[in-house]
Each structure stands twice: as C-alpha cells, then as structure tokens.
C-alpha cells in the first residue's frame, strides 16, 4: 500500500524549472550536435564507404507493390517525423513535414548541399524532413542525426512521394540540390 512518504510532492515551481532546464539543455545538445554535423560535412571522406566485397555485384532491392494502391493505406496512421537531433524546438508539430530528395550525386556536391539545408534548418526552421534517397550512401549520416529517411532504389520518386504522403503527411518534395520542387501532392 502506498504511504504518504511514497508520493513525490511535485510543486508547479519544480515543474516549471524542469521544463526550463529541459528546454535549455535540449537547445545546448542540439547546438552541439549541429557543430558535430558541420565537422562531418567538412570531411571529404564523408559518404565514402570503404566496402570490400570483390566479385559481388550489388543487387537492387525488389520493387514491392506500393501500399498506395491498397485501400488499407487510407486507414493507416501518420508516422511521426523528427526534426533531427540538431534542432530543438518547443512545438515541432508546427513545422510541416517535407520530403527532401537526395539524388545520386557525388559526395563533393552532396556535402555542401546538405550543409546549406541543415544550416537553414537550425537558423530558421521551416519543416521536418523526410529524406528520400536514391542510394544508401547518406543513410548512416542521416541516421546518426536521427532523421527520417527512405531508400528509393528503382522506385520512381512520384510513387515514393505518394507513399510518404500517406506515411508522414508530406505534401511536397524538394531536391536537396537547388531546392527545386520535384513532386507536389495533387489535390
């Protein structure tokens, strides 16, 4: 049986202080993560996986019939989209989910493009990103910073974007290079 001593007395002042500390620490941690990310993005060997399987031919994954053609897709719940560990905001739901297409481009093009996107993301947050990647190369990097990602492989961008619209609630996809829109949800 619980006694009076077992009950933790929580004063509103304590709650406010904890919330304030949480916000401060969250911001500091996100700043630290962003600095770490910028360090990685300035490293020329980022996205250069050293894999040694001589004689093996990489195989593309099978293209599974998309969920978007199945009536069940309309009944599935939306999945949360993170802001990534580099950003701490009080109301992340206020940022709309947005698809970012990462095409198969050389690392020396990808690094500055991501740097520009991420800098904009932390200085003036405008969206929560769902990265749609043509290759597996950016996946470990995006995973380290807790971003949402999807691998496209042979799936056309429009099909992948339509699925992501059901799954994450995105309504547009922009390219990480030049930020031009590559898909917009039809009304």
């Amino acid at each position: 049986m619980a006694t009076k001593q077992d009950n933790i007395s929580v004063s509103p002042g304590l709650v406010r202080r904890l919330l304030r500390e949480n916000r401060t620490m969250g911001k500091q941690l996100a700043d630290h993560e962003f600095k770490r990310m910028l360090g990685e993005l300035s490293n020329p060997s980022l996205f250069m996986l050293e894999l040694d399987f001589p004689g093996e031919t990489p195989v593309e994954p099978p293209v599974i019939p998309s969920i978007i053609d199945d009536p069940i897709s309309r009944k599935l719940p939306r999945i949360n989209v993170n802001t990534g560990s580099i950003l701490s905001v009080q109301n992340p739901e206020g940022l709309k989910p947005m698809g970012i297409h990462i095409p198969d481009i050389p690392p020396e093009q990808l690094r500055p493009a991501l740097r520009a996107l991420m800098t904009a993301h932390v200085t003036e947050p405008f969206a929560r990103f769902v990265f749609l990647c043509d290759t597996f190369r950016p996946i470990p990097f995006l995973g380290r910073y807790k971003f949402v990602y999807e691998y496209l492989g042979q799936t056309p961008i429009a099909r992948a974007a339509e699925r992501a619209a059901f799954r994450y609630g995105i309504s547009e996809v922009r390219s990480v290079v030049g930020t031009r829109p590559v898909w917009t949800k039809s009304e």
Partner: protein, 583 residues
Amino acid sequence: MNAMTPPSQRLGLLGDGFDPVGQLLEDLPEDVHTEYLTITDPLGEQDDIDALLVLSQSYALAHLPALAAMGKPCRILLRRSRSNTEEAGWVDGLGLLCDALAFTKVEHITLHALTEAAAQQLSQLTGQDVTVIGQLGRIETDRPTVPIRRDDPLVTFTYTEDDSTRSTRQARLDVFSWVRLRRLGKLFAADPIDKDMADLVAFAEGVPGAPAATPRSGPPTMIVVVPNGVGLGHVTRMMAIGKALNQKKKFRVIFWCFSRAAAIVQAAGFEVILRQTGVHLDAHPPDWRRWETVEFAKTLRFIKPDIVAYDGAAFDQFVLNAMRSPGCGRCGVLWVRRGMMRAETSRSVLDPEQYSDLVLEPGDLAVEADVGPTRMATAEFQGFCKSFIAPPITLKPYLPAYSRRDAMKRLGLRRGKYCLVSLGGAFGNWDELLWNIQEHARRNRITLVWAQSPLSSPPDDNGETMIRQFYPLSPYLEAFSGVISATGYNSFHELVMGYKGPVLLAPTNLERLDDQVARATYAGDQGWADVLYAARPEEHGAIIEDFMKRLRKGTLVTSRPGSFADQSNMAAALDRLCNTYAI
C-alpha cells in the same frame, strides 16, 4: 513459387483480420495469383477490388445494403454455430440474411460453406443454393495430431523428438497462420458442439484427391529480418548464413533491414529493403507496428518466400501479425539464436520457439562455458520447433584472404609491426585502457591501427592516430602482427579460427549483450588468447606489455582450432524447412 507474377485477381476480404478461412485461401490452387485486400467499406472500396468474399453471415448482415449496391461478384461464406447457446441466434441470423437477400433480388451475391456437410445443412435450412467455397488438397506427411478447441488458447499435442522419444508440447494457437498449422500438425476439432470449428478443421485438413496447393518453383527464398542491434553483429551473421546457403544451393536472400548497414548488405550481393525502427522514428509504437505489419505482409504476398528468418532476441509482433495475414502464411519461420546469453537471462527469452519451425544456433567454440538459458533451460512452450546447432558461422570463409603484402598495401601501411584495435562500446575504465594500449605499443615500437565501424562518423585526419574505417575486416588480418578485440560472436570466431597472431581479448561488459566475459575466459583457458578483464584493471599494464612484446617478436599461436567447418548440414536443414512448405 517465387515467380513474381502480377495478381490476376484482387479479392477483397470482409471479416475478422486473422480469420483462419482468410488465411487458408492461399492454399487453393485457383487462388495462386490472387491478391487479398482487407476491406472494411465494401461500397467505398469497390474500385480497389475485382471480387469480394465475406467471411461470415454476421459481416454480411452488417454490410448488406453496401453488398447489394456494389456491382462486383460477392461471395458470402455461411458459418455454422459455435455452441448450443448460440444456436437459436444463429438460426435467426441466417433467416434474416436470407430474407434480406430475397428482398434485394441481386444476382451477384452467392452463398457458400466450408464443407460439403455444411453446404448441405445450410441449403436445407435456407432453401437457397449453398456451394462449397473450395477444396484444399490433403497433406499426407507424417506429423503430430493436434486437437483444437476455440476456448483453449493453447494447443497441446504429443510430439516425437528427433531421438524418437515422445514428449508433450504446447503452443499458443493465435501465433500461427492456419496455412502453417495444417502443414505442422494433423488437426482435429476437439469440441463436437463447435460446428464452425469442425468445418474449419475439415476445410484445413483438405479432401483426398483435391488438387494440392501450387508447388513452389524457382530458387528457395529467404527473407531475413534484422533488428538494428548494437554494431554489425546481426547483419554480419545473417550475411554469413546467406553466403553459406548460396554456396550450397542458390538461395535468394532478401534483408528486411532496420540497420543502417544496408549499403554493406547490398555491396555483399544481397537485396535489401530498408526500414526504420519505431524508436529511431520516435513513432507511437502501435502506429509504427501497424505500418510494419501491413508493408511486411505486402512484401510476403509479393515475394512468396519459403522462409522468414529472424536474428535477434525477440520477434517483434509485426512479423507474426504479417505472417498471419491472408496470403502470407506459406513459409517457415527460422529463428537464428546465438547462445552464450548471460546466466541471469530469463527463460522467457526462449518463448519464440513456440512459433518457430527451426532454431538455428550458430555454434560457439566456447560452448562449454555457456551457462545461459539456451543451454541450461527449456522453453515453456516449444510448439513444433526443431533445433539445429551449426558449426561456428562467420563471413570469413566467403571472403578473399589477402596476403600480408597485399593487405598492407590496401590499408596504406608501410613496413613495420602493426596491431589492430577493434574494441566494443563498454569496458570499465575506458580512458585507462586506451592509455595502457597506447603506452605499451609505443614502448615496443608497435603502430596501432584503430578499426572503426563504417557506420560511424568519419575520422578526423589529424595524422597522429591511424584509423581505418572499412568492412569487412577479416580479409586484412594478415597485415597485423596482433589484434586487440572485443569478444562478440563474429570477431571472436574469425580471430580464433582464421588468424595465427597473438590476440588480446577485451570483453565488453554491456549487460544486454552476450556473455563476452565467459567466452573470453574460455579462450584464455585454452591458450587461444590473452584476456583483459574490466574488473581487474591492476593486471592490464603487465598483460598489455607482454602482448606487445610477443607482437614485436612475431610470435604465432598454434593452439587454436583449425579451419572453418563446412555448412552443408545447415543448408540441408534449411532445405528441409523449405520442403515443409513446398507442398
């Protein structure tokens, strides 16, 4: 089958999601190219399907206006009563449905039953034409007799073990698709009052002379579910198993991969379907699980694998739910379960045995030191599960082995003595260990090469520390005069079985990992390696100094076990598993 033919018919199913009838349909030869779609709004979703099957009269009554209004062929499966108390209501419901159907006067709705006996009785009762929905071919293999009761969540049966002894086994009924269940046991309905269960069991058992399920063709196919895990252990082990299978028999191995190591798996020649865990997404777990269930089921229906394999401690429910979805049941369940769990690990970790066909345990050279539950305990429910302990499985036998000269050249190493350091994530006083290693290497003029996961951030090139971030490590071992390593399954076996230089093991003391300390101690007792214990920091200096001296001298260790064993028996065990579901 594995031939990915587009579906010739999209059949909507309206009824309970895991209704055994919905599961059993995939064994009907005429349904071999059918895609099953779960329907909840027949009218609103009629454009998504070619035909509809309503799995009971209750669902038909609830949706009758929509069924009458939709223009697609609609079969209603009439079910018989489950108990005496239900009988009166059941008759009323049936009468109500028939009256309503007569009133609607539609021709696209037909009535069906599961068996001839049920069809006859229902025809007499309703005065309507009721036909059998289909007939499954009888399965004639030798298998245990399994009584089934609706009111008993467990099935209990007598099982003949491999050594011909007989034991009583149990499993939860709701973890199986009936497509699997009918191949694993001869079913019989144990409650004579429950006519619906009798019909279900009779339908599942099949009819002599009826055409069998369409045989599978093409290469055997295995979908491997790998959890995120710590490091690359799960992925590496499953790639090794995939390589072993490919060497013996061309298996198609597809990874359902929660690990960020997808690029590695693809580079190794496997197909990868990349996923993210609910934890990574910070998603509401039931929402995430619902998506995984639906999309994994979609994949199972499309790929039609012979085996679904899981390497990890506990199956996520999405795997089981997907395998119980219509069109997804005809495949075996392989549980790849490493031994050497910690002694204090609960026996409940063995629970997945009850729904596995085969537990494949990658053999451990330190098995004599294994006091974990996989060695010392028995699962509460073992179901139909068999077990197979394979010789130690690692990736090394399937990779090239570079000569010392080639390996050094590829790693960019010049002449000299090098020690590879590949440590785990947790080890007592980490800073002191690193200092000791660096200091004694310096004194003995040994250059340290730090191995880092290719999944981690790239190293800063500060010119002082030599870091190599490559995968796999094992082809390069000849470049090193000695290795300091954690004691995970893969690195331990690759070093003990495929390397001749001195090895210093620093077992990780992370509680959720395997018992690396026991494994390392065993290797130390056998003279295969030296061991650093996190709990005995006072010994570290002397052990590391002695190890570095032996590297300097170029000492070789001759007491280790020989070469890697052939995996023919493992391939044969998996082949037998495929055969269970081939018919």
